[in-house]
């Protein structure tokens, strides 16, 4: 089973999605890196993930990474956020990337914790840093920033030095300690 078989299986199962694999990297001499990503609409994500996980031709048992890209002010970008799923098949030793594009306000993606349990903390991280809501997540809390944080720091419209959070902390003096 090669990656082509997996993509053919995906096309066969979801003909309405118009699956079109695109290379992650294209080198100046025209070659590509042999790694492909597929665009998936948010409302079909769970079906696609469940299929990719279960089907014997695809068998993506492992979610290597789940992250997000903010395309604000990115040239030629149509959507604000791209949530990226990096899949690995331990059985067939092939990889596939999924991208789900969502937009302001209320960017929302269904949680894939029901397919891959390891998505739990990664989705919390993406929620924490980008403010993407994962519907159906079992524990939708922040994971890195303190609970009182009310911003999502990796968004491109968030200033690098913050909005005064690092200056507005309680002070301990010699008298009070």
């Amino acid at each position: 089973m090669t990656l082509n078989d997996a993509i053919e299986a995906l096309k066969e199962r979801f003909p309405d999605l118009g699956v079109q694999p695109r290379p992650l990297i294209r080198y100046p001499d025209g070659r590509d890196s042999g790694q492909f990503w597929v665009r998936v609409p948010a409302e079909r994500l769970l079906d696609v993930c469940r299929f990719l996980h279960d089907d014997p031709r695809t068998k993506f048992e492992m979610l290597c990474d789940l992250t997000c890209v903010d395309y604000l002010n990115f040239p030629d970008a149509e959507d604000r956020f791209g949530v990226v799923y990096s899949l690995l098949s331990l059985t067939h030793n092939h990889r596939l990337w999924l991208k789900v594009f969502v937009n302001d306000p209320q960017p929302t993606v269904p949680s894939v914790t029901g397919v891959w349990k390891g998505a739990n903390w990664m989705e919390r991280e993406v929620y924490d840093l980008f403010g993407i809501t994962f519907t159906g997540h079992p524990d939708p809390r922040r994971i890195l920033c303190p609970d009182w944080f009310d911003c999502h720091p990796l968004r491109k419209d968030y200033p690098l030095t913050g909005r005064g959070e690092r200056e507005s902390l309680p002070v301990v003096t010699r008298e009070s300690a």
């Binding site: 720091p153 690098l160 690092r166 309680p170 002070v171 300690a177």
Partner: protein, 198 residues
């Protein structure tokens, strides 16, 4: 009784010390318990970054912080006199740092070790506190990124001078710390290739 102590020689008429024991008795008479305390500061390494590694080097055999009586790093704030904040402190860590500081018993001292703890260093981001002295008392600042073990020892000696000078008064009464005695070398004096051309 295997231990015999020679009869302490009384100080000569000129007032100088003639034996080690005599010296100790002189110092205790002069500074009281503070002279003992200064040689038995128990550090609490609050190490969050590479400065912590440099502190470990200071504690290890080559630089040997035991020579100054501080060979007992305490990982319980209740059994420590000297907090060494070694590394960057982020906004999520600052309440922890303050809680640990408040759990230390008086008298207590704080060393802000290195550029990050003192100023935030190169980490000018939303998450990193730009100098812990904005939010808690600091007695001695150590320059360096990270400071050399010699600097750490000099900082410890600065704390010892504070102990000797201010004694057992609580840190609320003591006010600020002493200046660190050493200066970092001028970059140009390190040789060609260092420092910026004027």
């Amino acid at each position: 009784m295997g231990l015999t102590i020679a009869e302490p020689a009384t100080a000569g008429a000129a007032g100088f010390s003639v034996t080690r024991l005599d010296y100790a008795l002189d110092m205790i008479k002069k500074h009281g318990v503070n002279w003992c305390r200064k040689h038995s500061l128990w550090p609490l390494p609050f190490a969050t970054a590479c400065c912590g590694i440099e502190f470990m080097a200071t504690a290890a055999s080559r630089y040997d912080i035991a020579r100054f009586g501080s060979e007992r790093p305490s990982f319980s704030p209740r059994q420590a006199d000297l907090m060494i904040v070694a590394g960057r402190v982020v906004v999520k860590m600052l309440p922890v740092l303050q809680r640990v500081y408040m759990q230390m018993t008086e008298p207590k001292w704080v060393i802000s070790m290195g550029a990050c703890a003192s100023t935030g260093g190169v980490f000018d981001t939303y998450a990193v506190v730009q100098g812990i002295d904005q939010f808690m008392p600091v007695d001695v600042y150590l320059p360096g990124c990270p400071p050399r073990p010699e600097t750490v020892l000099e900082g410890l000696m600065a704390i010892q001078r504070i102990v000797l000078e201010h004694g057992v008064r609580s840190s609320a009464e003591r006010g600020g710390g002493l200046q660190l005695a050493i200066q970092p070398p001028q970059m140009a004096s390190l040789g060609p290739g260092f420092g910026y051309p004027n």
